[in-house]
């Protein structure tokens, strides 16, 4: 499956509207996709099964209505894409490609799609949402409602944060087993250049 965290990040890229003080509504409306966007990222993954954190870098892309891509350039080149419900993956090292369909039980990815389309109602069905604005920041926390024996004690959680009036600059996804991925986001480009990159990467991933 396409790593849900990677796709979720695309939402963080979306353009901001200036406002004096952020509210949940204003942050969500900023997340709604209006044009193709690309943003650089650094990723740190902390897994119980790894003794050290894993680091990667690359670029995230999003294009309305339902296209999200992650182009990892280090440590290896890998491309992951989600077009609607169809997920694609390409690993350059061994020239491996495959595609699969999105599992609708993967609530996070379903939720990301809803965020991209500013569908708060569906989001509220899947997550307990809390929003805070500590000084100079906004923090959006999503805690999965779907309890399973695996996540009963510690449900999966997504924490997005950014500076006031800005897009998200940090996203942490914490799995039910405690494994987590943290993304540090930086400058974004949008428009035709981003769209061209998306088109080129989709072509590469599909072979």
């Amino acid at each position: 499956m396409i790593h849900k965290t990677h796709l979720f990040l695309a939402l963080a890229l979306l353009p901001s509207l200036a406002s004096a003080e952020d509210t949940l509504k204003s942050v969500l409306s900023r997340m709604k996709a209006t044009e193709a966007t690309a943003i650089a990222y650094k990723e740190k993954r902390t897994l119980k099964m790894l003794t050290q954190d894993w680091h990667g870098t690359g670029t995230l892309y999003a294009a309305p209505p339902h296209t999200m891509l992650k182009e990892q350039r280090s440590p290896e080149v890998e491309i992951m894409a989600l077009e609607g419900k169809q997920a694609h993956y390409y690993q350059q090292n061994n020239d491996q490609r495959y595609q699969t369909e999105l599992d609708e039980n993967e609530l996070h990815v379903v939720a990301f799609n809803e965020l991209m389309n500013d569908d708060l109602a569906t989001l509220q069905k899947l997550y307990d949402i809390s929003f805070a604005t500590p000084a100079g920041h906004w923090v959006l926390t999503l805690v999965a409602k779907n309890k399973t024996p695996e996540n009963a004690k510690q449900p999966a959680k997504i924490i997005m944060q950014g500076l006031t009036d800005q897009t998200a600059n940090n996203v942490v996804v914490i799995q039910a087993d405690g494994d987590k991925s943290e993304f540090t986001l930086s400058s974004a480009t949008k428009g035709v250049a981003a769209q061209n990159s998306i088109d080129k990467l989709l072509k590469q991933i599909k072979g």
Partner: protein
């Protein structure tokens, strides 16, 4: 009382028709008519084709060259299709989610049992410093991949990821559809009933189209639905045949009525004969139903055509009777009755030969036609004379017929010489007779459907439907063990380039024996030293020894087929395992391959067979063809024997049989000269020619009416009706019917024309 005796027959007729309509069980499953098998494997396979899982499935391809269907449309269609009453299940052809879930839940615990087909080779490679280092690296890559969540669950109990060993290749096939499928989504729809149950399947197909049209409109998507599968072929074949039979029956009925009216110029006579034929058909249906419990649609079609020969008997009675006074007609019919009886007996021999040829359906046809012949004879002898009241006119092309008769009598020696020369040439030409090797040539009208089927399947996966390796065993365990040795042979063929790929039941299932062996060898090999090496490999990769360092592979009972079939993997396997009480068959599907290499690889192995369904059906047809040839010759010998006993003169018997025999040889020779491939269908046609023309020989030879001209005119009327009835089949699209038309129509005409040349009679009287 006299009138009651005359017309009692018309009171019985509606009762017969009612009995047929309300008591007869009709069947339309065309496969039961043609497919049987000579050995247990062929029988089991034939049953599987007829009523097994494969026969119940459709492939529904939704998409177009430019547009892909949306996931929402596919989801809606799946839901609606599943709701159809006779549908068992619907799933996506490339269903992965369920399979991947089964890997995580069921197979993760089976790593020690299923990791290899050859543990003696694979374990030493894995459990070395290099092997374990490579495995640790692969584990890390997998944990960081998009499948990381799934890998975590597996690695918790199977850190060496042994359960994924066999899946390495399969995962590629699971996750990667062929490129040509770019804009198509394929659904598999499985029905509850056999694909050969055409009536039910046609209803399902109509519902599928209706649902698709509705959903397509609702979602406003520019996509189309293409459908293939055994039920599609069965429905098209049957509908085509039914439409043609209906159309041709109407055409031939009108033509025959017209001919009859032209010959006898009387609606009354037409009514008598039609009533007799209806009675004959009803009797045949009733008796066949009593004996077999049902009457097949093909029996009705073919058998009724054969019964059409029975019209010869009333024709002879009418032609001879028209010249006599009403009160003498009974005596006239009684006089010619022995010839009819002998003709009927020879025809019955011919049909018996057909019944013994081996095709399951033709046994019923033989009974049906045989009952029809007997009934026609009895009705002609005892009922028709009572109906023959009033004046009867007869003009069966009197002048040309008589002219030919006189011409033959006048120039018989010269004509005989010519016939002899032509016969020698015909016999010599038989050396280049071309026997049909591929039954596909009998159905060129199905080529479009076959091409559509190939196009849809090529978008799914590259296996060749209809060509596979068949593994048999007394039990499932035996079959699985056999299959495991077959995989090794197939691997060698792949290496040699003779086979691109194959799809067995591994990695989903191994024999219990192999699973136990795998577990034993693994446990023995996981020494403290190996565990240490593994932990060192983990450390080198930055993987946690705490979570992944213990190689504690618990002993699990071997995985059973029942366990596998309880998961979505069942969809991948259920068309590959066929179980009956006495044996189990495993099918290993093949991708592109060289047939000769596969055949050679398994030659001499009684438990393994390379099967090409097409070749198997062709072989069955060749077997039946061989039997039909033998039966045809035996039938002719039996006819000769009967005639010899009847005439107490072998030469006379040969003379009587000669027009029939020469007519068949001439048609065979023409086929050879024009390069027409001969099939069993031609042999059926020759059987009909001989059966019909022997009657002509008998009537001409015996001339019981005393007036040869009149006898020959009666024969002309018979010939015209037979030629016309079969000739009408020429308008069919179906190649099978066209062959019968060409062979039989021309054969009966030739047989009729040869009688006055071959059979020596005195100068024409009358």
């Amino acid at each position: 009382m006299q009138q009651f005796r005359q017309y009692w027959f018309f009171l019985v007729l509606p009762i017969l028709i009612g009995t047929v309509i309300f008591t007869t069980q009709f069947k339309t499953d065309i496969s039961t008519f043609f497919i049987a098998g000579n050995n247990a494997q062929e029988v089991l396979l034939a049953n599987e084709i007829q009523s097994g899982v494969l026969s119940k499935r459709y492939i529904l391809a939704i998409g177009s060259e430019k547009n892909s269907p949306s996931a929402a449309l596919i989801s809606a269609l799946s839901y609606e299709f599943k709701a159809i009453n006779s549908v068992h299940d619907v799933w996506k052809a490339d269903e992965k989610r369920g399979a991947l879930e089964a890997i995580t839940t069921l197979y993760a615990g089976q790593g020690a049992n299923l990791y290899s087909r050859n543990p003696e080779r694979d374990l030493p490679k894995l459990l070395t410093a290099e092997g374990l280092a490579a495995r640790a690296k692969a584990l890390k890559t997998a944990l960081l991949s998009p499948q990381g969540e799934m890998i975590k669950k597996i690695a918790a109990t199977d850190p060496l990821l042994l359960s994924l060993n066999g899946l390495a290749e399969t995962s590629g096939k699971l996750l990667n559809p062929p490129k040509s499928a770019a804009h198509y989504q394929n659904l598999i729809l499985e029905t509850k009933m056999s694909g050969m149950d055409v009536a039910a399947q046609v209803q399902i197909q109509e519902q599928i189209h209706t649902i698709f049209a509705h959903q397509k409109s609702k979602f406003s998507e520019e996509v189309e639905l293409e459908m293939t599968g055994v039920p599609v072929f069965a429905a098209v074949t049957q509908n085509r045949m039914q439409n043609e039979i209906t159309y041709i029956s109407i055409l031939s009925s009108l033509a025959l009525c017209g001919l009859f009216f032209w010959i006898f110029k009387s609606l009354r006579v037409l009514f008598w004969v039609a009533s007799l034929l209806v009675t004959v058909v009803c009797s045949a249906v009733i008796v066949t139903n009593l004996l077999f419990g049902f009457v097949h649609g093909m029996t009705l079609a073919i058998g009724t055509t054969l019964i059409g020969i029975c019209i010869d008997y009333p024709i002879h009675a009418l032609v001879h009777g028209h010249a006599a006074a009403t009160e003498q007609r009974f005596a006239v019919v009684a006089k010619i009755w022995p010839s009819m009886l002998l003709g009927g007996a020879t025809t019955l021999i011919g049909y018996l030969a057909l019944g013994l040829s081996g095709y399951p359906g033709f046994q019923q046809v033989a009974v049906y036609a045989g009952v029809g012949i007997l009934t026609a004879l009895l009705l002609t002898r005892y009922v028709l004379p009572r109906l023959m009241t009033g004046a009867i006119v007869s003009s069966s092309g009197a002048s040309p017929v008589t002219a030919w008769l006189e011409f033959c009598q006048k120039f018989r020696p010269q004509l005989l010489t010519g016939i002899a020369v032509l016969t020698v040439m015909a016999v010599l030409s038989l050396n280049s007779l071309n026997w049909m090797q591929d039954l596909q040539e009998l159905t060129p009208e199905m080529n479009e459907l076959k091409a559509n089927d190939a196009k849809i399947r090529s978008r799914m996966i590259s296996l060749e439907p209809g060509r596979f390796v068949l593994v048999s065993g007394d039990t499932l365990e035996q079959a699985l063990q056999q299959a495991e040795s077959v995989y090794q042979t197939l691997d060698k063929l792949k290496t040699a380039g003779d086979l691109s790929d194959y799809f067995g039941v591994y990695p989903w299932l191994l024999s219990q024996q192999q699973q136990q062996k795998n577990a034993q060898l693994l446990h023995a090999a996981l020494t403290t030293e190996k565990q240490q090496l593994w932990q060192e490999s983990l450390t080198a990769q930055g993987l946690s020894v705490e979570h992944l360092g213990a190689l504690n592979y618990a002993t699990e009972p071997p995985l059973s087929l029942e366990q596998v079939l309880a998961t979505p993997i069942a969809h991948l396997l259920d068309n590959q395992i066929i179980k009956s009480g006495k044996q189990t068959l495993l099918i290993i599907w093949l991708a592109e391959h060289k047939s000769a290499a596969l055949e050679a690889a398994f030659a001499g192995n009684s438990h393994v067979q390379y099967v090409s369904q097409r070749d198997m059906l062709n072989k069955m047809a060749m077997d039946y063809q061989g039997k039909a040839e033998s039966m045809l010759l035996l039938g002719m010998l039996a006819m000769l024997l009967l005639l010899t006993v009847r005439y107490q003169d072998l030469w006379k018997a040969l003379e009587t049989l000669a027009p029939a025999f020469l007519s068949a040889v001439a048609i065979l020779s023409l086929c050879s000269v024009f390069g027409v491939a001969i099939s069993f269908l031609h042999l059926v046609g020759f059987l009909l020619i001989v059966s019909i023309c022997v009657d002509y020989g008998i009537f001409y030879q015996e001339n019981r009416g005393g007036d040869l001209r009149l006898t020959y005119q009666a024969m002309a009327a018979s010939m015209l009706t037979s030629a016309l009835a079969f000739g009408c089949l020429i308008v069919a699209d179906t190649t099978v019917l066209k062959i019968l038309a060409q062979v039989v129509a021309s054969g009966v005409l030739l047989g009729f024309l040869l009688c006055p040349i071959i059979i020596d009679k005195h100068k024409v009287e009358g």
